[in-house]
Symmetry: C3
Subunit: 324 residues, 3 copies
């Protein structure tokens, strides 16, 4: 158990050691039991977290806000539109000033090329921990929740195969943060990681390299596939979700048009049957129902999506309780 | 005193027994005294309520939020526009997921034909109580506050006459939820209920039937009138407010045009003089001043509107403390 | 130490005695130390503050909300757009009703000619303290924070020279509330107050007269200058910021056009060199960087802007703890 985490930022899991991340999971499990038992765990009494959102949110906002209340504190939902950022407040000023009022600053800024940069600038100026609620590059808390879910479902993740796959969606061009954070962390915990995507939907090169290196060190493996069906074959866990082809084009309409070539990349029962019998279906939600995945699969017995969403609460409470 | 209410939804008062509702009023009175005395009553320490709004709110949001704070917990104000519902989060998903983060889910969804349906779907999927903050059919907390106010003002409601009446307003086409919940509950507590409305402004047929049946069982009475002035005659309480003619047309402009035929349905001193001398004037607010009711009446000595608004706080705290 | 402040409004510092304001500073310093030491100070456990905003905010909302949490209570962020004010809720109704739910009501309403009037009407109807989070005339909490900062930086403010000056900005036409509240309070604490502005950018006449009278009583001084450079000469503190020429024209485009004549009213190193060597640069933020002030000055060693922003938290907690 690592006891030195007070004051630490969580921008990407890559900046935390395995031992530090293990401490997060250990505390998350304890806090999950405490909530199930109704056992008080107000480790952050009267402390507060600023949650600054530049993009819409259901699970993230709700789980951070409820989590802070359960820990005895408060999370303030701050829609960037209601602030004076448009009147000139800079990232540095936000870090300096919010850091003096609050005990932590959580930020969602997903704009391609800007999000991570903004969060880093706030963190540089802030005296309190900065938590990345999703940027253009990473989504660490989603993936910590995913890892906890996998541990709960399959036990030791080493040697298990996870297929991180592109899927088609029509709603909007989503960030790369979920698949990127997934391949990084899953490779680190010794899983056999498959990244399955069409040629136009590659992830950032340095992230892919880091994932490969993580796998090498952990004794896991990393491979890239280009065929949707192939990704499912023999997998223990599948995580097929949509993202934009940001490295091919930053034009959202162009990205949507390119995506349109892959409308058959939908997760259905036939594909699930290619995987292991008890293979888990994961998705960070919301999904484009019957476009990205059929109702039959997402609402079926192999779907872990609700347990996965619930674990957002527990891992986030663990990180907040340890760092704030 | 009923002690088995933990986990119960409050979608309509019709689904709660008289004895259960009596427990709500008993607790509401106790909590009202506690607040007046500054006596701590943190029955929901570190618990939290999601308040999901699809429509604007002043009193409802404020009273639920302040109420949760007074009970030691927190209510999260969630404007549906800031969520990912538009990106695909379904009612079932909201119920499943918010139910895992929060200890209760309160919803306002007033769209004609959709609101109640949505709340029922969330409740079906949720493991925690779902509270109806107003839908297209019911507004239970408003009417519980109204009943408490009547009990405080006139004592035993049995045999007292309440006139639930249409009034003209120009601001927007309001839901049927207030008059419908009113006739249901007031008839249940043995009042003589008058429903006064123009022919185009009828309430839903099955609600009217249930109100009639409630009156029969309680020893009260139920009658329908078509003349505005007649509704006031000899009444102990009047509750004239506007609503849209949703059963005549779902077109809002058409509804406004039909309403325009009844511009003389305004509550003024002459009309109040037709009622009993100490007749109470009630309104859930906001009112269209000098269109729906004159300033003289709404600001006058017979107006109970502020005490009525205050009682929102106390009945809601009672239901939350009993169910969450 | 004044002990009778429970229930008092804070709309302008002018309505509080020197001795009452001294109590605020005394408590603010104590609460600042308590936070630095991690010493619990939950003086408002389970109490709540409504924060009603008609205008955007970063520091004000964050510092009030975090402050209430630190005091053990809760501040509700209420964007006026989400309420039913547009459906008819009057100022009187807001005061009556929010005053029954919450333990305090804080309001930001900066519309020229309307803001202060609105806050006064709410306060008239409210049974709980009303706190002015900025109106068209006053910004008392900003200036209390400014005074605390000056005391921390220069010690006894008597005889020190502060230059409250217009500066050019292009972002939007700002209220007069900051310079007006500044000249009132600084003159009251015995400072030599300079008000420097172009002819079109005068402040309200009665405010200027009160500032002059405050200076006379306190043994300070008050003078008006028309030359930007002259304002800096020998000053101990400079507070150059932009405002609209509301008394010349209420037309925002016209105001912007008139402001355009003064683009050289920018605070730079040359101007700072005219002041005393350790002269403090103050600004309530956000500033129009490199238009209103150069980065070199606002980010330089003489800039007090972050300490000034932080003190918002401490003075506001003091007023809330004393009044609510």
């Amino acid at each position: 158990m690592q006891t030195h985490l007070r004051g630490r930022d969580m921008i990407t899991t890559q900046e935390w050691t395995r031992s530090e991340l293990d401490s997060v999971f250990e505390v998350a499990k304890e806090l999950k039991r405490a909530r199930a038992l109704g056992k008080p765990h107000a480790h952050l009494r009267d402390k507060s977290l600023a949650m600054l959102f530049f993009f819409s949110s259901t699970r993230t906002r709700a789980s951070f806000e409820a989590g802070m209340t359960q820990l005895g504190g408060h999370a303030a939902f701050i829609d960037s539109e209601t602030t004076q950022i448009s009147h000139g407040d800079t990232a540095k000023e936000m870090g300096e000033i919010l850091g003096r009022y609050y005990d932590g600053i959580a930020i969602r800024q997903c704009d391609w090329g800007d999000g991570n940069k903004y969060i880093r600038e706030v963190a540089e100026a802030s005296r309190v921990p900065v938590l990345n609620m999703q940027c253009d590059v990473y989504h660490p808390f989603q993936i910590l929740a995913d890892m906890l879910t996998i541990m709960e479902k399959v036990g030791d993740p080493r040697g298990k195969t996870i297929n991180v796959s592109y899927a088609y969606a029509s709603s909007y061009q989503k960030p790369l943060s979920v698949p990127q954070s997934l391949i990084l962390l899953m490779a680190r915990y010794g899983m056999n990681v498959r990244l399955t995507a069409p040629p136009e939907f590659q992830l950032m090169g340095d992230i892919v390299e880091q994932a490969r290196e993580n796998a090498r060190r952990s004794g896991g493996s990393f491979e890239q596939l280009g065929d949707f069906d192939a990704g499912f074959k023999g997998a223990d866990v599948v995580y097929p979700k949509s993202w934009g082809c940001w490295l091919t084009t930053e034009d959202k309409e162009e990205s949507a048009k390119i995506g349109g070539k892959y409308k058959d990349w939908i997760t259905d029962s036939r594909r699930m049957a290619l995987a292991k019998e008890d293979c888990g279906y994961m998705h960070c939600l919301p999904a484009d129902r019957n476009i990205e995945v059929t109702d039959e699969v997402i609402d079926g017995p192999n779907s872990w999506v609700y347990d996965e969403a619930e674990n957002r609460l527990h891992v986030q409470k663990a990180v907040m309780a340890l760092t704030m």
